[in-house]
């Protein structure tokens, strides 16, 4: 996901299922507690955790596609499966998933196209309704009825065509069958898809009661099946989470330390930091403002954590348009940007990268030697060789996110230095990705980013770098990357036998694909993996901080 964006409904997840290895990678059958790379201190319960939070888009799991909402959802809405609730660190630790509402990871056939789940018995929603197997299918149907941004994830389910053709009239999906008495759910896929289990960890699949209205439901938000529920939500002002009175502990899912979480919604980073600094609130969900980071780090070193996220910030280069249909022009951009300078422009909240895939993935292999050491002279030479010198280039970036605006303006300055005439287009973040994702805009180059939806490379390469996934509107492949060799590789890696999908050799193949795209075809100009901050008041014990791959877990926060 991007921090703020609309996602294409046509996500082609075409990797061959690797269920056998997924199961083994996920630590065996259901009920087992996840292993954690970093163990969090277990704290005692306490009455109220007061937090300052960024603005969610929706508090309805069928509609939300924003980090601020998903961070709250992780302790409220549980899908059949979940990413583990521990700090993942790097590598394989970040890819493990656990059974949540399902009793165990699914049974499946050899190619992983037939998945059978059994849900846990005796679970209830926060409103007292019993959790039924049929709620899963109703949740997916509700997603279609809501025209949810997540419906593209389900395109491989048998019988989904009717719902895709007319989402708001979706009434049944033949590929999902259930039995409420036995508590079983069976999902049939049209073809193998190894990332499907990860898709079942996204909040679009989090179960909501069948009685939930099939419309945006936020006041109050839908009943919860997790350890907490949303007791109230005032958009742009506040929300309150209370313990789910019907919660029945599930192994691997934290019961939570605070009895109540009171969130004040604030977009202003300085103000939210100030509220935590003055101990009026206990946790700042917003990233600290860059101009105050140094002072805050100096004075509150032990209260601040910085985490590298599974994200990549990069400059897209539209390969359908001059000058970036010329590989030398794309190489020139990569040589012209000083990645450390860009990290500085982010206030230090980034780690330079030349890879597309973030280092949190087991498929990541750092490109070595550094493929594009900063060299303006080399960049100028390449521009000269490309015959594109003097061209006018439109540079796009967001106008209301300081570090992104700075990155875009830096790029413009560098393009001017290497012989182009770069013109800036700064757009509000509310519509930025919609505008650059529209082919009619003819955006040549600019800022973009990606935060993972789930920890498998298809979420990166298939969505962002795969030719068949180019769309006229809501296009996530903003560079229009479409190379026969890499398309075939993505396709090939997507159709491996299950025994190979998560093997070390497949991981190497993904790493090689990353290398091929970044060095042979120079499809993008990645520059950093974003770092986000966790800031706690002095009454909190930061050693309880658990960062579950993308965000802190408020349920596990504890007092000193």
């Amino acid at each position: 996901m991007r921090t703020k964006r609309v996602r294409s409904v046509a996500i082609a997840a075409v990797v061959t299922a690797g269920l056998v290895l997924v199961v083994s990678a996920c630590g065996g059958s259901g009920g087992s507690s996840p292993t954690t790379t970093t163990s969090a201190a277990q704290g005692a319960t306490f009455s109220n955790l007061k937090v300052v939070w960024g603005l969610p888009d929706y508090l309805d799991p069928g509609l939300s596609y924003k980090l601020q909402s998903w961070q709250a959802f992780q302790d409220v809405y549980l899908p059949l499966l979940a990413k583990r609730y521990g700090t993942c660190g790097v590598g394989a630790g970040c890819t493990k998933i656990i059974p949540a509402i399902a009793q165990s990871l699914p049974q499946s056939n050899a190619n992983g196209t037939d998945l059978k789940f059994t849900i846990r018995k005796g679970l209830k929603y926060s409103n007292g309704e019993t959790i039924k197997a049929s709620d899963f299918k109703n949740t997916i149907i509700r997603d279609f009825r809501l025209n949810s941004p997540g419906i593209g994830f389900f395109s491989n389910i048998v019988g989904i065509d009717a719902c895709e053709g007319n989402p708001t009239k979706c009434s049944d999906i033949s590929g999902i069958t259930d039995n409420d008495q036995a508590g079983t759910i069976e999902i049939k896929l049209s073809k193998p898809q190894s990332d499907f289990l990860y898709i079942l960890t996204t909040f679009f699949t989090a179960l909501v009661p069948s009685s939930t209205p099939q419309k945006d439901t936020e006041n109050p938000p839908p009943a919860a099946d997790g350890p907490y529920y949303f007791a109230s939500y005032k958009p742009s002002r506040s929300f309150v989470m209370l313990r789910n009175p019907h919660w029945k502990p599930i192994p691997g899912i934290p019961n939570g330390n605070p009895d109540k979480v009171t969130a004040l919604l604030i977009a202003d980073q300085s103000r939210s930091a100030q509220l935590v600094q003055s101990n009026q609130y206990d946790y700042d969900e917003n990233t600290l403002p860059t101009d105050r980071l140094q002072q805050l780090q100096k004075n509150y070193k032990n209260q601040i954590h910085l985490w590298r996220t599974p994200s990549t910030n990069y400059f897209f280069m539209n390969e359908r348009l001059a000058p970036f249909n010329n590989i030398k022009a794309r190489e020139a951009v990569n040589y012209a940007i000083n990645r450390q300078t860009l990290v500085n422009l982010y206030g230090g909240l980034g780690v330079p990268t030349w890879n597309f895939l973030p280092p949190t993935y087991p498929q990541y292999k750092k490109l070595s030697p550094t493929p594009y050491p900063y060299s303006l002279s080399k960049a100028k030479q390449l521009v000269q060789q490309s015959g594109t010198k003097g061209m006018t280039i439109g540079v796009y970036t967001e106008s209301d996110v300081a570090n992104r605006q700075a990155a875009g303006e830096y790029l413009q300055g560098q393009l001017n230095k290497i012989g182009y005439h770069a013109v800036m287009h700064e757009l509000g973040s509310a519509n930025y990705f919609v505008i650059i994702g529209n082919q009619k805009t003819k955006a040549q180059i600019g800022f973009t980013d990606w935060f993972e939806d789930y920890p498998y490379p298809t979420d990166w390469f298939t969505v962002l770098e795969y030719g068949p996934n180019i769309h006229d509107i809501h296009n996530n492949n903003v560079s229009n990357v479409n190379f026969g060799e890499t398309n075939n590789t993505i396709n090939h890696l997507g159709h491996l036998p299950p025994t190979q999908a998560f093997s070390s050799s497949t991981n190497s193949d993904w790493a090689n694909l990353d290398k091929t795209l970044m060095t042979k075809y120079v499809s993008e100009a990645p520059f950093l993996n974003e770092v986000i901050t966790s800031f706690f008041s002095t009454r909190m014990n930061p050693s309880c901080d658990v960062f579950t791959d993308l965000f802190d877990d408020v349920a596990q926060m504890c007092l000193k």
Binding site: T37, Q295, T341, N344, F547
Partner: protein
């Protein structure tokens, strides 16, 4: 948003003459109304001081800016220097503070905060970076001067274009009346119905993506002409409506009938009889619209719909500075001070001009 007040009765230069007569009796004999108004203005020292301040700002931005950039700071307004250094007493200082991040196995990052631009040097390392640098390592003093040039250009030119178009439309609407008046008045209403800033943002954002290319008019995206024309457009009814009201009141006066009886055509009546009689109101409204156009430009640029980076304007400089209010407050305060001085100067001078031409205050902008 400022909205012009209504005129209770027509005001002409004859009124100025009458007012002068109240003051000086025989001294006004043989003097034109303009001379009399000028005499009144010369006695208003406050207005003249603020006019001098405004002219000084214009001089600094339009004449002194290139001299400062090429001969003193040796830094262009758009010269980005995020990786650069300066030397001071043998010490090397980074224009933008440098950081370093290391990645721990636990997923945590250990980083040194960075990205803070250098503060005001106030001559310590030559004239360069006198007021410090912005987040891209650009010289704030140079950008302040060039930003003022862009802001003033847009304010003055937009006000001029707006006023010319508004005069033409007001004359046409009021003189011809009927369907012409209805169409022009409804067009004024239509534009008036949108809040100025919202309409400006919508137009500015749309036009700044691909520019404006229709027929013989080709304006590139990012051109200063985009905010200029957008601002001119959104203010047309604010000038046009009060002028239309004045012309309506004048068109049945005896001197117009006399001119018609002598065989004068519509164009001659509009431009030689009616226009001179609303000239004083036009002048007053123009000064007020300049101030409002400057504020609108600042607001649009602050919101990203006006002047496009890297070109400076006082609005974009405030927008850039707001991210550093804790550590580098002058990044936003300096352009803010310039805007304040400029707008106050124009408003005080505008009030003085109005007092000279129309001391009964029948033409004014209501805030």
């Amino acid at each position: 948003m400022a909205t012009p007040g209504t005129t209770q009765e027509e005001f002409t230069l004859d009124t100025a003459a009458e007012l002068a007569a109240e003051e000086g009796g025989s001294k006004i004999e043989g003097k034109s109304p303009w001379v009399l108004a000028g005499r009144r203005l010369r006695r208003n020292y406050t207005a003249l001081v603020f006019l001098a301040i405004f002219l000084l700002i214009v001089f600094l931005c339009f004449v002194f800016a290139p001299i400062y950039s090429s001969h003193l700071s040796h830094l262009g307004p758009d010269f980005e220097n995020a990786s650069g250094v300066i030397h001071e007493n043998g010490k090397t200082i980074h224009i933008i503070s440098q950081g370093k991040s290391t990645f721990g196995k636990d997923g945590q990052v250990h980083t040194t905060a960075a990205g803070i631009p250098i503060g005001p040097q106030l001559g310590k390392s030559g004239v360069a970076y006198f007021f410090g640098a912005d987040q891209q390592g650009r010289d704030i003093a140079t950008r302040l001067l060039y930003g003022g040039r862009n802001t003033l250009f847009i304010g003055l030119v937009a006000a001029a274009i707006c006023t010319v178009i508004a005069i033409l439309l007001a004359l046409l609407a009021a003189y011809f009346g009927g369907a012409t008046d209805w169409i022009i008045s409804r067009a004024f209403d239509l534009i008036w119905a949108f809040p100025v800033i919202l309409l400006g943002i919508a137009l500015g954002t749309a036009l700044n993506i691909n520019g404006f290319h229709h027929g013989p008019i080709n304006i590139a995206a990012g051109s200063l002409w985009i905010p200029t024309l957008v601002i001119a457009f959104v203010f047309i009814p604010y000038v046009g409506r009060p002028l239309r009201g004045q012309v309506l009141a004048l068109r049945n006066r005896e001197f117009v009938e006399a001119s018609t009886a002598q065989g004068a055509g519509p164009l001659r009546i509009m431009f030689t009889e009616l226009l001179p009689n609303i000239a004083s109101s036009v002048l007053v409204l123009f000064t007020l619209i300049v101030a409002n156009a400057i504020l609108t430009e600042v607001a649009l640029s602050f919101l990203g719909a006006g002047v496009q980076p890297p070109h400076p304007s006082w609005g974009t400089m405030i927008a850039n500075g707001q991210n550093f209010l804790s550590t580098r407050p002058w990044m936003a305060i300096l352009p803010g001070i310039m805007i304040t001085i400029t707008v106050i100067s124009l408003n005080v001078f505008g009030d003085g001009l109005r007092d000279a031409l129309d001391p009964r205050a029948k033409v004014k902008m209501e805030h």
